[in-house]
């Protein structure tokens, strides 16, 4: 015959709850640690790219001063830094998304990045004046706070750059506490309100669509850029 229901003394065996809690907490701790290490690694990666760019910029400037005039006018001077700076910008904006706009690491890196952009802009301008290079640039002022137009403008500029890889776009956070940005705003006569853009020296305020910006770019530039983009596309297809 089966056993009778014997009344066993029951009690809560807390060891299971505590062991489970310790294991869960350990998993949490490990993950938080790994995540921190990964973030620190990325910040360092950005820093080292910035340092490399700073050296390259300084080197170009020095070369330029040494040789004066047009002796430094080789094709390299026109295109070496741009892709590096763009890569940096993309990474930085990703970190900003991940860590938040008020993260001190992000703010520090952004200031450095802004200065590098200004230097690149000045050097490119000088080179194109002295060597006769035709470069087209857009200086873009935005803000991350309460500016839905800026978010949309950002999408447009990203798409624009994909269409014209040789187009130089310098983006500055107008809210960043950096006097060089304020000076750049004054020098380029950019308004206080964001978004605003300086396209080849002319000031434009408010959101501009892709087509509107395209219409403001020199026609020769568009033709050359389109041809280059098509060739690049063909090359890529052949590679595949």
């Amino acid at each position: 015959m089966h056993k009778k229901n014997t009344h066993h003394k029951r009690s809560i065996d807390w060891a299971r709850y505590i062991i489970s809690f310790v294991i869960t907490a350990a998993i949490f701790g490990t993950v938080l640690y790994i995540s921190q290490v990964a973030t620190a690694k990325r910040i360092n990666e950005i820093k080292s790219i910035q340092d490399k760019i700073a050296i390259d910029l300084l080197s170009s400037e020095t070369q330029f001063s040494l040789l004066a005039s047009g002796a430094a006018c080789n094709e390299d001077g026109n295109s070496v830094l741009a892709p590096e700076i763009e890569k940096l910008g993309e990474r930085l904006s990703y970190m900003e998304d991940q860590l938040g706009t008020d993260n001190s690491d992000v703010i520090g890196l952004k200031k450095y990045y802004s200065l590098l952009q200004i230097k690149d802009y000045l050097l490119t301008k000088e080179l194109s004046q002295k060597c006769g290079f035709k470069t087209v640039s857009i200086i873009y002022f935005y803000s991350n706070n309460d500016c839905p137009e800026c978010t949309r403008q950002g999408y447009v500029l990203t798409a624009l750059h994909e269409a014209y890889p040789t187009l130089r776009i310098y983006a500055f956070d107008a809210n960043l506490d950096l006097s060089a940005i304020k000076t750049l705003q004054t020098v380029t006569k950019a308004p206080e309100s964001v978004p605003s853009m300086i396209i080849n020296g002319k000031v434009y305020t408010g959101f501009k669509t892709l087509e509107e910006i395209e219409s403001k770019l020199p026609k020769t530039f568009i033709d050359v850029a389109k041809k280059a983009a098509e060739e690049a596309k063909k090359e890529k297809e052949e590679e595949n």
Binding site: H2, R10, I27
Partner: protein, 418 residues
């Protein structure tokens, strides 16, 4: 501000989810086979072959009731020891006519009563009949008229009674031939539930004695009396009363019961709102047992589950707002540049290593591993199939019915106060 509150809530929810899974795994592996009753002798050669009565309450089940009764008649069990009590709960369709084909069967009793709006009254009607007219019946069970049993289900369930102190045995529920998306989703859900039942069974913390094919010793009803209305989930309420009286409930993993499962969203929502609302109300009614040491683990797991329900109620709107805003951004991006955003090239730099993402992935992996274990060890099924993907959306649906149930519970309380 919203961002940081969202993060804190997400951390709490993930911690809760992970903790619960770790707790079940720890209980399952570290305390394998050890219960409050000592080590269970599973391979006991003892044979328990009592007279069993199975009640089949039905309300408008003309399509399925015959199959249900036939599956019971197909049980591998001495026919003279089996009684099937069909209770037509005032059906408006052909249920009563359809069951007449069993009228001459020695093992089948057909009863009819007017409908009173809840299943518990039909069960009590059947119980009274059994207790007054069938004194030799030792084990009483129930099978919903939309379910059917495996021929060996009774054999495996009865074997569970040979473990010390077991007064009720619950089966493993399987979704029968899933066809629609929602049925496949329930199939995976029931598989996870099988594991949870097994873990809860070892902890002696089962708090539901499901309608389909839970078997009770007659003593249970002699001691506790009849079923209560219990917010339409009488199966949870009776299990809680058993726990309070230290009557052991056990899960017979090999005892398979097949149920159809709602095929559409509206039917599933209706079922789940009833269940979840019932869970909330009964847990609330029995809150006096929370953390009562003398009741063992059920006194801890019940409040934990109750609390997790509320975390999920808070989490849902948070996650939905967050998901909604990402979709809005994506649409905004596409409409601003009049083309679909391009997919960037792969770069290890952009692998998301935020703690929340990693923890979310670990939680889901844990769940999939558990499921793999259930499928291989308990259900003898293929480890991977496409229906695992339903896990990715399950929580959203679950959150929906949880929120609706919580809302009903709050509204219901207000009504009761007036």
């Amino acid at each position: 501000m919203f961002g940081s509150i969202k993060e804190i809530l997400l951390y709490i929810a993930i911690f809760g989810g992970l903790y619960f899974q770790v707790f079940l795994l720890v209980s399952y592996f570290l305390w394998d086979g050890i219960t409050e009753y000592g080590e269970d002798d599973v391979e006991s050669g003892e044979v328990f072959e009592p007279i069993v009565a199975i009640m089949v309450p039905c309300y408008n089940e003309e399509d399925t009731v015959v199959g249900t009764v036939n599956s019971l008649l197909g049980l591998q069990y001495p026919r003279e020891k089996l009684r099937i009590v069909v209770i037509d709960d005032g059906s408006k369709d052909n249920t009563w006519n359809n069951v007449q084909q069993f009228a001459g069967n020695q093992s089948v009793v057909l009863l009819q009563k007017p409908n009173e709006g809840s299943k518990y009254s039909a069960l009590n009607f059947g119980l009274r009949h059994i207790r007054h007219n069938m004194p030799a019946v030792d084990v009483i069970g129930c099978l919903d008229a939309d379910s059917s049993v495996h021929p060996q289900a009774l054999h495996f369930s009865l074997r569970e009674f040979t473990k010390p102190g077991v007064m009720a045995v619950i089966p493993t529920m399987v979704i029968d031939h899933p066809k629609t998306f929602f049925q496949h989703m329930q199939k995976v859900e029931y598989e996870i539930a099988t594991y949870a039942k097994q873990a809860f069974s070892r902890l002696n913390t089962l708090y539901i004695a499901p309608g389909p094919f839970t078997l009770f010793k007659r003593e249970v009803f002699d001691t506790l009396g009849e079923y209560h209305e219990a917010h339409h989930v009488e199966d949870m309420e009776i299990a809680l009363r058993m726990q309070i009286k230290h009557m052991r409930l056990s899960h017979a993993v090999e005892s398979m019961v097949y149920t159809k499962g709602p095929s559409t969203w509206s039917a599933l929502l209706k079922q789940r709102v009833r269940w979840t609302y019932g869970f909330i109300m009964n847990a609330w009614d029995y809150r006096h047992i929370f953390f009562k040491d003398a009741l063992g683990h059920v006194a801890v797991t019940l409040p934990i589950l109750f609390g997790m329900l509320f975390v999920s109620v808070v989490m849902t709107p948070v996650l939905l707002i967050s998901l909604g805003s990402s979709i809005v951004h994506l649409i905004q991006k596409a409409t601003t540049i009049h083309q679909l955003p391009s997919i960037p090239d792969f770069d290890p730099f952009y692998i998301n290593t935020s703690a929340l993402t990693i923890l979310g992935i670990i939680t889901i992996l844990c769940l999939i591993l558990t499921l793999g274990m259930v499928r291989r060890n308990m259900l003898q099924q293929r480890l991977f199939s496409w229906d695992l993907l339903t896990l990715t959306v399950y929580s959203f649906f679950a959150a929906w019915w949880t929120c609706q149930s919580a809302w009903n519970a709050i509204r219901g309380k207000k009504k009761a106060w007036r």
